[in-house]
């Protein structure tokens, strides 16, 4: 459904790339997670895919069509939820959705129904300018479904939402997938990625370092870890150490013999820990 080959992008049009040699393929009906810390190049990649930034170098095909040669009708199949809520502040929630529904050449969803799905039915007739940040986020999310897209781009759809709303949004995404929608999901929330995505790509500094299903990543990298809190030179420290890696095992021995151990337990690696292990970077 989406195929990206050797994608590069430089905002400064020089050798400093925000996206560097990125390649991946997304199958029909798949939820593909794009995971990385802030500034990794997630939004940049999404913007290139949906044509908001022009393609500098590399190949991108969506629904079998080279995006350099697409016509506007392609956008009848695409829905985009933006990272930053971009809505008309002087229009109400319903008016915002109605206006956008007029832009499409295909049958569109009922605005009120969409607003109800994301819990905005009470605010439907309030001006978007009076919405809270989380409400705006949900409005943009609802708007991205207006044309019943076959391909759905979601940039941080749950950032800044409370856990309850987050799980509603998760439910909607899962449901759409079951109806056959292909989903490109950008996030730095590992939990979301773990429960939703069929496959994830780890991206840092514009480069992808791993692409696989969360399960495979765990099997591959998720050896048992020891999580240990200890005091060294009067400072409380924390470490995650592999129980199979020789270097880590030695370090664990050293800590136990020379420092005061506060807590220690072994655990299955989370996706977050695997991310740190592979990329050497925190997700925040």
């Amino acid at each position: 459904m989406i195929s990206v080959k050797a994608l590069y992008h430089s905002y400064t049009k020089d050798e400093s790339y925000a996206v560097k040699n990125v390649s991946f393929d997304i199958q029909k009906g798949e939820i593909f997670g794009f995971l990385g810390p802030s500034g990794a190049g997630k939004s940049t990649t999404q913007k290139i895919l949906i044509g908001l930034i022009s393609l500098q170098k590399g190949q991108v095909a969506i629904d079998g069509m080279d995006i350099k040669k697409t016509n506007r009708a392609l956008f009848d199949k695409i829905g985009v939820s933006f990272e930053r809520a971009n809505v008309y502040k002087k229009l109400t929630g319903v008016e915002n959705l109605k206006f956008f529904s007029e832009m499409f050449g295909v049958p569109t969803e009922n605005p009120l129904k969409l607003l109800k799905m994301v819990g905005l039915e009470d605010a439907a007739n309030k001006k978007a300018g009076d919405y809270s940040k989380g409400m705006l986020q949900r409005l943009v999310f609802a708007r991205s479904m207006i044309s019943n897209p076959k391909i759905w781009f979601l940039d941080e759809p749950t950032s800044g939402l409370d856990p309850n709303t987050t799980s509603i949004i998760k439910g909607i995404i899962k449901e759409r997938q079951e109806q056959g929608t292909t989903i490109f999901l950008t996030t730095h929330n590992m939990h979301i990625a773990e429960v939703l995505c069929d496959r994830v790509a780890f991206i840092t500094n514009g480069e992808i370092s791993a692409i696989d299903s969360p399960r495979n990543l765990k099997l591959k990298y998720g050896e048992k870890l020891a999580s240990i809190e200890y005091i060294e030179n009067a400072i409380l420290k924390k470490a995650y150490l592999s129980l199979t890696d020789e270097g880590h095992k030695k370090k664990l021995n050293d800590i136990i013999s020379s420092c005061k151990v506060e807590t220690m337990h072994t655990q299955e690696a989370t996706l977050e820990e695997i991310f740190i292990k592979i990329t050497g970077k925190e997700l925040k």
């Binding site: 949906i50 044509g51 908001l52 506007r72 009708a73 392609l74 956008f75 009848d76 695409i78 985009v80 933006f82 930053r84 971009n86 809505v87 008309y88 502040k89 002087k90 229009l91 008016e95 206006f99 956008f100 007029e102 832009m103 499409f104 050449g105 001006k127 943009v140 708007r143 044309s147």
Partner: protein, 331 residues
């Protein structure tokens, strides 16, 4: 077409919900209503007469019974006074009993014969009294002419400003990104955004003509001039929208535009005929000339055609110079 109308409706809805934009839309209407009340109030003060100094004490005293009298020197001075905006009648004496009443021709019907009647009363005991009536040509008060044309021009320019502010809104909220991932084409966006710049001036120009009761104005000619002039305002609106990062900057940029507009209008009105070619480069100069002549109903279709050609030619030139910047600014 569906998209164009949706964009137009959205702009209108959004504009009337913000005080500043609503004010910009309503300003020409408010001003022309004000003008409407001002024009009759000038006439309603009382009767006014401009008399020749040499006309004699008794005649002056007689006219003073009916209204305010101004004494002027000679026929020329009186004629100049009469053509001014308010309703005033001039009276001069040619010979003993031969009085000439000078009027502008647009005075209220009831008052136009008042001067003759006064003279008639004054001389009722004598027989041979000849009063001739002289119309010096101007058919309309200058308040009406310049008021109507400047308000229509203002409606045109302010509609461009509405476009500019609506584009600034899209830029600030980043909604343009959301639109560019729909099947909407950029040309549809531009044309849709332009519609308000055509509709508002047309509606407001018709309102001006209606409220000032300008029955002799040829509506087809009026709309031709209005629509042609709107094109230039639309381009300015887009330029303001593209170059201003927020509303404040937009209003600051509007000041330059207003300077250009007022220079064109005032120049067209006050510059002597021989020096008007200094203004030929300004499409709004041609708009001013055209609108004034349409309102005074002293224009042929051929002239309208010529003015429109000038406006369109200059507008296309400005468009070619700025199209690249507009296109770039909208991405």
């Amino acid at each position: 077409m569906k998209r164009l109308l949706a964009i137009f409706r959205r702009d209108l809805k959004s504009s009337v919900r913000e005080f500043l934009l609503l004010y910009i839309i309503l300003a020409p209407i408010v001003i022309v209503i004000g003008l409407r009340f001002f024009i009759p109030s000038v006439n309603a003060i009382s009767f006014q007469f401009a008399l020749d100094k040499s006309i004699g004490e008794t005649v002056i005293a007689e006219f003073e019974k009916y209204g305010r009298v101004e004494l002027l020197d000679g026929r020329k001075a009186i004629e100049n006074r009469v053509v001014k905006a308010d309703d005033i009648f001039g009276v001069i004496q040619n010979q003993e009993d031969d009085y000439v009443v000078i009027s502008q021709g647009n005075e209220d019907e009831g008052t136009s014969t008042i001067a003759q009647q006064i003279i008639g009363n004054m001389n009722s005991e004598e027989e041979a009294l000849a009063v001739t009536y002289s119309d010096i040509g101007a058919k309309m008060s200058s308040i009406t002419i310049y008021g109507a044309s400047s308000v229509i021009l203002m409606a045109i320019i302010l509609a461009g400003m509405v476009i500019g502010l609506n584009i600034i809104e899209e830029k600030e909220a980043n909604t343009m990104n959301a639109l560019s991932v729909t099947p909407m084409r950029k040309l549809e966006f531009i044309v849709g955004k332009s519609l308000i710049g055509l509709v508002l001036p047309v509606v407001e120009a018709l309102f001006v003509v209606w409220i000032l009761n300008l029955q002799n104005v040829h509506i087809g000619m009026l709309l031709t001039m209005t629509l042609a002039s709107s094109l230039i305002a639309i381009i300015f609106g887009f330029l303001i929208g593209v170059f201003s990062s927020n509303q404040i900057a937009g209003i600051a940029n509007m000041k330059f535009l207003l300077l250009f507009v007022s220079a064109s209008f005032i120049g067209a009105v006050v510059l002597p005929a021989g020096t008007q070619y200094f203004l030929y480069w300004s499409p709004l100069y041609w708009s001013t000339i055209g609108l004034i002549k349409v309102i005074t109903n002293e224009v042929t279709w051929l002239q309208i055609f010529q003015y429109t050609l000038w406006i369109l030619g200059l507008t296309i030139l400005i468009f070619l110079l700025s199209a690249g910047k507009i296109k770039k600014g909208l991405t």
